[in-house]
Point group: C2
Chain length 165, copies 2
DNA sequence: GAAATATATCTTGATTTCAAGATACTTGAT
DNA sequence: ATCAAGTATCTTGAAATCAAGATATATTTC
């Protein structure tokens, strides 16, 4: 079945036959799929009164394991937002009672962000819902294809995830 | 090579062994890679004094072919933003002289957005730069792997691109 | 051909994000 | 010990996005 990127690539080949637009076959699909997923997530989380950004922070803490705490810096590498954004997110989650800030005992510059019991419950509920939705989207592919796809994507993400940047 | 999603999945399997988190192997990689690509694009476009959102609108018009015009509604399906966002984008691009609004001769509710000659040049310059950068990112994969990856992604994007939603 | 429904775009107000730089503490070199 | 450089987080102000609803025009139904 054709998708929007097929049409986009065909259009470029007509308009700019001098350029090799093959990279778009992969990377435009990644960007567009991510936007579709964002919309779907927003919808799925609204049942739990959670925004996607809240889910991202809460689940990062949740999967760290008890006592469910990380530094803001660790949260940055998990969520790929800027430090100003993370400060703001922690402020808002604190007001909602889903996380709390504690001083880092080993570094007085530092802070630890800890999930409250309610924050933990909310994260657990929303995760189950998200997985159900994602499973439906991935039903397009066989188990083997999902494995292949994951492996190919890993080759593209690994360089980003393993450099200072 | 391991990536952040490998660590994330391992953490969930430790914390929530009762859940099947296999969907994250694919879809978390898609979301994270898209964020990395956004950052890289922002950097690449800054050489041309263009924001990613400007690029998205200008190139949608550019590849429509002469006379380089589309309705706001058509731009919505290409860029996956809301109508309020698109109105705002067209306003700002108009102020910068990169696009102009024309009345749609066949529908008095409608408007056509047309690329100016400068807008067209800016789109062409930035596209060449983007393709070079994307080629570097994709050098991780062989030509055959890139083809496979594109085909697998198409299966996931097609359902989104071919329904009313 | 009038009313009801649908479509296309824009407006509004609140929310979220980012880039840049400020502040406070820590570490390393001498 | 002191000073310079590095690190961790927060502050600020501007820019961009979204959801919801308003407005104007088209289309369908009866």
């Amino acid at each position: 079945m054709e998708d929007e990127v097929d049409r986009l690539v065909a259009a470029w080949r007509r308009e700019r036959p001098d350029l090799d637009v093959e990279p778009l076959e992969v990377l435009s699909r990644v960007s567009r799929l991510a936007r579709h997923l964002d919309r779907a997530r927003r919808l799925a989380f609204s049942e739990h009164q959670l925004e996607p950004w809240e889910f991202d922070v809460l689940t990062s803490l949740r999967r760290a394991g008890a006592p469910y705490q990380l530094s803001p810096g660790q949260l940055l590498t998990q969520t790929l937002v800027t430090s100003g954004t993370m400060t703001n997110r922690i402020d808002r989650l604190t007001k909602k009672g889903l996380v709390e800030r504690l001083p880092d005992p080993s570094d007085r510059r530092g802070v630890l962000v800890r999930l409250t019991p309610e924050g933990r419950d909310r994260a657990d509920e929303a995760l189950a819902g998200l997985l159900a939705q994602e499973r439906a989207i991935l039903a397009q592919l066989s188990r083997g294809q999902r494995g292949e796809l994951a492996a190919l994507l890993r080759q593209l993400t690994a360089p980003f995830d393993n450099v200072p940047g």
